[in-house]
Symmetry: D2
Subunit: 373 residues, 4 copies
């Protein structure tokens, strides 16, 4: 009820602040028998890690997790899993500025009003630092859906400021495309359209020089999802995915398939035609000729790729001066001297993927529970 | 887990199909002492009712609710409330066409795949008929938040096809503006911009003549919401509102404040400046000079109006021919002869409002539980 | 959170008062494809029905249920089921006596304190009338576990006052034994030990003549339960069963296997020895030679019969005078003139069985969700 | 759904095994502003600690907790709290015996059947070691209820084997009485009846010499509980308390007030008479002259002390030989060489108290949410 848990059958619960001892996640409902190691966790934790490139915050965290419970002889036991990621770079810096002043765009004011006081060190629980625990849980979810149905979740940066990547077939984008260019150069901005990626990097660098920040859009695609995930009415798959994405800091919009563009479409343009497809093994399966619906019909997965986009606002922390008030209502000027990302998009990708994977893992287990008697 | 409940402290559970005996909602967690009558329920039920104008489906339902439990001597008892709305217009028509064919854009195929069979009469549980139970529950939620903090939820149609209403100050739109024009003429399309409203009506009429349908966008505003509703991390207010909206049929996108437009903004353009405002009684309160954030910061209500928009796809049922397959994978032609809305927007308004009110009622009770010791 | 729902995967939500329009249950999470009719429901509803014999309350209710949703062509659809049982015998009698006076042993005082007022007609929501909805849901649960694993739940009266039935092998007691004696005479008290049954009937009749009531113990046995139901730690099967039983009115104690007698046992006397048993098909399965543990080890079903007992207090309503206070704190004398059971045990049997079946159905679905990947 | 969380508004989630790195609890829903230190936690952790006396297991654990999150400047922040207690005494001993053999009375067999394999080191997640996390959470719950309503939970040993303590007024037993005798001697067995306590100690010592174990009963009393806690129907306070107690290892019975003795009582003997009492400040409050009901009526706290008893089976691990089978179904002899308690009762007291306090904290927050509008 206090909002630190997510999911029903595959359920994660997190705790941790930006500058406390660390962040911990308990995963309840992971079936037994899944191979899991610290190295498995490190892959996505490194994709999310601060300091990974000059485009992101320079906070230094190794983010090496410790598995506290739930794994025995390299496999999950079926009982609750706990993973701890300690905070390391907790500079004993002067927090007095943000202690009393409300940073525009941040949760400082709403936390103070809600709780009567707050852990002001770097945003406390409201810091995006908490997403480290989600990414660790996302690795477990990814392993579960991969084993269970070959499920795959790939996210990438679709837009930074006015620069929009061209991605003709979202389903074909691979993790490799997102992480590196064909020549092996790291894809620092995680945009699979190389030309636009370069423009995005230049824009982010320029924005940072201006002591400013910039927004963008991330697209996430889940493929190999079986038909039938999602529950009618309130727990539609699109509803739970949206909740998952909007539970992330800075997300101001989510859309599926054609998304907001559906507003100007007619039914005859929008509806996707059903066709029967001969699969390799001669079994007929029903698919749609196009995927304007984004992979869910009636809130239930249709077997087509799930395609969604999340709009991410520009980072709220700015090195330049902003006007605000103090907690006693006095006018004030604030400059956020700390380390922050000029654009949240590159690090958002593994975080968004994690949330999508967690929802799919959850709905897969729910599907197992509720399938026909 | 099977998705027919929503909310945690103020929790609704529904059952009912399009052509079964009726739809029922149980509301658990409504505090005692709230005045509630059938007439209270009828107001919004009538706004949602089929057959209310020539713009909407001509299915005839009186939608008079029966309060089965939870009200004594005109007031809620604090124990669970149950409301039943019977179905009346269940034409004993030939359903054979949709029995075997998958209607494009509908849940016929996904339900068949998930459950092994389905109630094919008018969509069964996947029909928008189920929203009648939500609207009844929404009335109770609206009464609760009005009594508790003067909370008000007003929705309207912002866009139909390419026609976008001009609404300068969303917070000032009243229920009266939405339901009727200043001269008392009913506002059939529920768009407060009269000129655009007329254009929208003409567009809807023309689309219907084409045996087609059209999408749109609804904007919903919640005002007088106190600071502090919403929980950090997973149950952010924006996350629960988004889940609520996306749990409705046909919603393909949701955004807050500037929404997707944030992608092209810089932090210095996007952030809303905090200022201290002298209230009437001399108390200082913190507000923001602008409301690009849409009323929530860190996922917690900021005291500014909550402003959101939902993108609604064009009605899937079309009177014109569409190509599809049968449940045995044979190609087929389908024409939906039944009664359906050429545009979902006018009837969406009370439904969207209901979901927003339910989320606010829920988070208000959660706020009471978790406020500082 | 307001306590009108029970279960997680197989989840029931109820509403209804003693003298309102009726009682309704929504069952969420029942898999599709289970045959269900009004007649199926009537069997246990009749076992619970008031007026079924001279031993129980003479309130007249036909308790014929209406299935409002979730069944199509005689089978469950997989979406939410709703069942309504209307109240009929709502005598327009003078409630003024209990309106202002707190009946000893009842919830009148605690409801008034909690809610500020109460539906005083026959106890309102606190009346055992609410169990009619549980029994309807229990029928669905019994059908589910019977289909899924041949699961069977049989309850009976073990003790009334000082009279304790002799039941040598709880697992062998059948529904037939409980409902009638070998000669076909109805077993009004639902005790399978015929001699003690006769004594119990005489005791109940004598207690009623004294305008008094009497307590007792019911024993419930679940058999054919597969190994592995129940979750470690908080949702142990014994924990959820106990919650289910204690959620019923008048239950003051619950115990499993040897129960409270374990306090005087040594480990060497108490532990049940494991042995391997050749099943009919030559498969070896592990069983225990004795069943002092009551069918659960570590909170998880062991495959042995689950045996539990619930202690039921004497009916609180008495026709004789009792001393109490009014809601303004004045001393008063109260006599409950209404119709009530002199002993709750005979009608408790189907109610207790229903709750056990609901827990098993729930844990069976949870088991399906969480079984090894 | 996998059972590692408990509570709704005040909700704890735990992870950890007997011989893994440690045990962790996340507490979600603790209001902000409660003072909390490691020392606060240590008090009850020490009461539960192995090795505290010669009567209990000699496993050596310092059980010093680390607060990982949720406390800032010595007070709870209102966001999720995490506490880690590392395991220290994880002897690298030969587990081969229990690896393949099913210990009678333990969860070895049911875990193997459920999960396909198990962490066999000392019982893994099924070990009573997991209760260390509950006791830490219980300290937070005790602080919350003490601040909120002066709530107090005191448990003690009522019975060991045939020795039953005489406790005339359960409400008057203090923590001091339970922890030490009037002369300051530590009360190793936690029984407030000194004479019986001495007999219990002798019995436990003798049982241990016999390489055997012994059961018992613990009584727990909660006082100063306000009227109105607990929800009607399924979440009755007695139901949630029973679930809490039965979720503990080795509990085979729970009863309230007169408990199972109600079976032989008549209503006229059992019902507690209401009387109005002048409080110190002249306010009249309603109480009952006796407390056979055990502090709850209709499942809702009546304002009288809550009195419950739990029956605890004799420790399953025995140093003497027991017959059993291996995981391949072969007959075998087992002797548990490890360290274990000959009687669970002395260490049960703080564990049982913790669970009662957690339920009261949860229902108190729920009460705040749902009180009259």
């Amino acid at each position: 009820m206090a909002g630190n848990s997510f999911g029903q059958a595959f359920r994660i619960t997190t705790a941790g602040e930006s500058h406390g001892p660390g962040n911990v996640v308990i995963i309840d409902g992971c079936p037994s028998g899944i191979a899991l190691s610290v190295d498995d966790l490190l892959f996505d934790l490194n994709r999310r890690r601060p300091g990974q490139s000059h485009l992101v915050t320079q906070r230094q965290e190794s983010d090496v997790p410790e598995i506290l419970a739930g794994v025995f002889e390299g496999r999950t036991t079926g009982t609750s899993l706990a993973i701890l990621i300690r905070n390391e770079d907790q500079r004993s810096r002067d927090y007095n500025e943000i202690k009393d002043k409300y940073r525009p765009g941040h949760a400082d004011y709403t936390y103070d009003a809600k709780y009567g006081f707050r852990d002001y060190r770097g945003g406390g629980r409201a810091s995006a630092r908490e997403t480290v625990a989600r990414v660790a849980a996302g690795v477990v979810a990814k392993k579960l859906i991969a084993e269970a149905f070959g499920g795959k979740v790939v996210g990438y940066v679709k837009q930074v400021g006015p620069i929009v990547a061209r991605v003709d077939d979202p389903e074909r984008v691979t993790l490799a495309d997102v992480e590196a260019f064909p020549d092996g150069t790291p894809n620092l901005v995680r945009c699979p359209d190389r030309e636009r990626a370069q423009e995005m990097i230049e824009l982010i660098e320029s924005v940072r020089k201006d002591q400013d920040s910039i927004g963008g859009v991330s697209e996430i695609v889940a493929s190999n999802v079986p038909v039938g995930l999602g529950e009618p009415v309130f727990d539609k798959l699109k509803a739970d995915l949206a909740k998952a994405l909007f539970s992330l800091p800075a997300v101001l919009g989510v859309e599926y398939g054609v998304g907001f563009a559906c507003a100007t479409q007619r039914g005859s343009e929008h509806n996707d035609e059903f066709v029967a497809e001969e699969s390799g093994t001669g079994v007929r399966r029903v698919v749609t000729r196009s995927n304007r619906h984004g992979g869910m019909l009636g809130g239930i997965s249709s077997g087509m790729p799930i395609v969604l986009r999340a709009a991410i606002k520009p980072t709220s922390s700015l090195s330049r001066e902003q006007r605000t008030v103090t907690n006693t209502g006095e006018g004030a000027i604030i400059r956020t001297k700390g380390r922050h990302d000029p654009c949240l998009l590159p690090r958002f990708v593994p975080i968004g993927e994690a949330m999508v994977a967690i929802v799919l893992a959850d709905h897969y287990l729910r599907f197992r529970a509720l399938r026909p008697a």
